[in-house]
Amino acid sequence: MNAWYVAAAVLPAGLLGPLWVAARRPALDGVIALQLAATIGALELVVLGEAMRRQTLMALGLVLAAVSWPGTLAFLRYLQVERER
């Protein structure tokens, strides 16, 4: 087991905090937490891809980051419309 596997095992612990905030705090705090979780998830895939030497996992991380950005923007737009009512 090398350092990359250790890092890939430790990094998902960082998802617990954002997921707790997303579940227990107001909606806007939850969107921020989910964006952070997506960033950590994308980096986890990069680290895991490097550990296993599989570039498809790295591409998956890139796709996750690319997809989460417009998703978060859509959530924020929805929350803004809700607040303006």
Binding site: N2, A3, I32, A33, Q35, L36, L62
Partner: protein, 94 residues
Amino acid sequence: MRETIAAILLFAGVALELAAALGIVAMRGVLQRIHYTGLAMAGSIPIAAAVVVRESFSLASLGALLLCGYLLLSSPVLAHVMARVAGVPEEEKT
């Protein structure tokens, strides 16, 4: 030697990500929590650097660099939009 430098950079990045996750739980309010999305983005830099140090410039390191660049560009935009949606805090309105 290369593996050691890569491991140091990697764990620096992981530490930054874990600090961001801890910060988002510890802080109160939207505007304070937004700061930690920036810290998570900063954590991607040493991780991408670790991949480049380990792999040199290859297809794998290109993926990590692309992800890092994408996060560097997209994260400030999202933070700006989040802050706009959050609006002015109650104490500043009075």
